[in-house]
């Protein structure tokens, strides 16, 4: 994933690719419901540059035609949007009820120690960002976490170490 450096002070210009993607979604909704495309639009920007700086959210708002604050509301509501630049790999640990009952606290603690960062932070080498999320619908195999787009389930401190190593070595 990793994030690109973006000038957050200048006006943000949506790339050709992103605009195409937003248009694609806009077509699916009636004209007076344009804002329904905002989720997909934010995803498109995040795919493109890895995170959502304010000026990029403003550009999305202006493109779709909705108040800036309404886009911030959406982006801050969902965990999958990165409001800060992230590392090469994003680790999201589920701490919702089933995982919590199965010991997600320990998983978080272990990860924090191992990576020497707190929830919401990125390792100094820019390799990992650690976040907590709500239920990812893999409760059956709790506790679980997602690294980038892959699920890792039935976690134990030992399996965590292996997984981390794998991502670290996998350049």
């Amino acid at each position: 994933m990793a994030t690109e450096t973006v000038d957050t002070t200048a006006e943000f210009v949506l790339s050709e690719k992103v605009r195409k993607e937003i248009d694609h979604w806009l077509e699916k909704f009636p004209e007076e419901q344009r804002q329904s495309a905002v989720l997909a639009a934010l995803h498109a920007v995040q795919q493109d540059i890895g995170w959502l700086p304010e000026n990029a959210m403003d550009a999305v708002a202006d493109y779709i035609g909705m108040p800036h604050i309404a886009v911030y509301e959406v982006a801050t509501f969902y965990d999958m949007y990165n409001l800060k630049p992230i590392g090469k790999h994003k680790i999201t640990v589920c701490t919702n009820i089933s995982c919590m009952l199965c010991g997600s606290d320990k998983i978080v603690e272990h990860l924090q120690q191992r990576l020497d960062i707190k929830l919401g932070e990125t390792t100094s080498d820019g390799m990992f960002t650690l976040k907590e999320v709500e239920c990812l619908a893999a409760c059956k195999n709790a506790p679980m976490m997602q690294v980038d787009f892959d699920y890792h389930e039935n976690l134990t401190p030992e399996s965590l170490d292996q997984i981390i190593e794998k991502y670290r070595n996998d350049k």
């Binding site: 304010e54 108040p67 911030y72 509301e73 801050t76 509501f77």
Partner: protein
Amino acid sequence: MVEIEIDGKKIQAENGEMLIKAADDNGITIPRYCYHKKLSIAANCRMCLVEVEKAPKPLPACATPVADGMKVFTRSPSALNAQRSVMEFLLINHPLDCPICDQGGQCELQDLAVGFGGDRSLYDEGKRAVANENVGPLVETRMTRCIHCSRCIRFGDEIAGLREFGMVHRGEHAKVATYVKHSLRSEVAGNIIDLCPVGALTSKPFLYRGRAWELDAHEAIAPHDCLGSNIYVHTRRNQVMRVVPRENESINETWLADRDRFSYLGANNDERVGKPMIKREGQWHEATWIEALEFAANGLEGVRKQHGAEALGALASASCTVEEYFLLQQLMRSLGSHNIDHRLRETDFSDQKHLPLFPSLGMQIEDLENLNSFLLIGSNIQREQPLAGVRLRKAVVKNQAKAMSVNFLDHTVNFPLSEKLVVAGDALLFELAGIVKALIADQKELQDQTEQLLKSMQPTAEQQAIADKLKQGEKSAIILGAFVQQHPEAATIRALAQLIAQASGSSCGVMSLGANSAGAYVAGMLPHRLAGGAVAEKPGLDAGAMLTGACRSLLLLNVEPAYDAANSALAEQALAKADFVVSLAPYLSNDVREHGDVLLPIATFAENTGTYINVEGVWQTSRAAIKPFQECRPAWKVLRVLGNIFKLDGFEYVCAQDVLNKAQEVIDAANFVEPQWFCPAPIALPKAKTQRIAEWPIYSVDNVVRRAVALQESLHYEQPYGARMNQATANKLSIAGDSEVMVEQANAASICLPLKIDATVPDNAVAIEAGIEATRGLGGAFENITITKRVG
């Protein structure tokens, strides 16, 4: 209509109405936070839970529509239990900091906690805290107190048309915030102070200044725009502490513009002059009232003896009271001069004989929201009359009204414009004429009448579109803004606007300047008309003539000519040229300080009793809430005593009511003949020169708001003053890369201003604000201007 029963009381309710509304209309109290009758229904606080027969659980009264035969219990054990539980939940995260909270004593949460809450909580864990935001100098935030009712968010979205607050993050972390730090920009933002049921949003200028129970409320009228919003002035120990709206459905509903809410700060300003002052040998000295009054009277008398009564002139602001206007014109006319005017910002008086009794909206303010289409001509409605903008927005958002605008600047409006033409000064006339031409294609009679005027016109597609939309609208209106009345061809513009209205079946009206233009017209504050509109036999000089130096002596009532007149430079020169200048004003403005001879300090709005006539023609009397500052006196008293000193007849008034009665009597007896529409002269081709477009910024419209510091600071996000022009104009003048330029106008000093590239300015125009110190001494508002490179 359906019949329902609430707490055993049978009541009638509209079909589809919500329970809470039916209860409110019948005086039954249901507790609530998120519900507000002027906002959409959010149903998120759950405080309004009531028991409804046959419903398994308590229902929210604000989101439950009435149904025939419904039986509702607002105080049954189940309802009370639900309400108590909701209160307990809301208090989980609410700090119990009432002793240091400004909302204490006027807090809905406090009241409802006492009325409906329990006396202890099961919750003893830690409370969450939310960081405050700095949202500018008007609104103070304490976001930990927020109960997430979302009223402030809905207000921005639905009423102000500018969403500034939102609910960001989620669950435990959800908070009301602007996300990106900024000062509130809406000109009606102050209303969220009233809307917020808790102490999360309070008035910053009033912060820690007082408690609600120490204040006395006085009914009054806001004196800064032609709507005449109703207010309460809250006072304590003879000081105005704050101003809040007084509900009046037909004018301001429950709202108030920030200008009306915070202008009291200007009246409390240190610049107030508390004692009469006389200038002797270039120095101002304090004096007693009797000295100052005699000095003023002698000065005027001296000029009159030497040069005749025609050498005397009187100018008043467009926001004085009917009583003051009536007395001032009585005084001047008794002294033998008809040189009386209040139209300082106007420049075209050529149609004055043809104008109606007073400038009127031609419809009810309340009806603005029912329009189907409207055309704003030269109006910055959101800034000039903020609450009229709010009404029009409702027409657009709720009725899908077609909003259209023909203007000198591309002003932001908080509703979508379906047609918009932005052209520099004179070209506006052509646009209007084109619209007329498009409208009268099938109206033979009007064609004949306007043959000469419109001979060479060929409507463009845009003009045609405006014409069609006006015709299609069942209820349509033409509204001339305050901005356009300053135009040197205002008479032609007015005549064209009337033609458009007539040909499209629309109403035609103006949003007049100041708070009481209507009152000034009716009370005879005009050179050509007496009170009630009777024709003055020998018309005197208009404001334009008086300010080009035609008067040896000027009597100023609440005006600061260098800031209030259409042409600042000429106005100041006129003052300098005059032998004797008397100023009745609450402040010693710079222009009067330099050129005046005597200052008679007068009361400001909350210290004064007087009548305002709004743009709809409604007379509203505002009574003094406090005694005038130090030795200031209400202007009507000063004028009365001047009359006595001159030993004039008819100046025996004892109170403001006497003056009003007399004015009323004269006005009722006057015989005003409604003038006929007249066809203006054919329009000349626009000059190819660069024209200045001068607007008075929202908080520079009169002497009081100019001194309301918090209001001035609230504009800091805006581009500071400067010479604003679009890129093309800057290129043409070959100054595009410069940061500062020299601007010069006829008969005026040349000054240096920052250059701002601004796409909202049309070609060949330079927008430079008037009414502020930085541009004092420039020339006419719509006149030619020369822009040159700054040397050195």
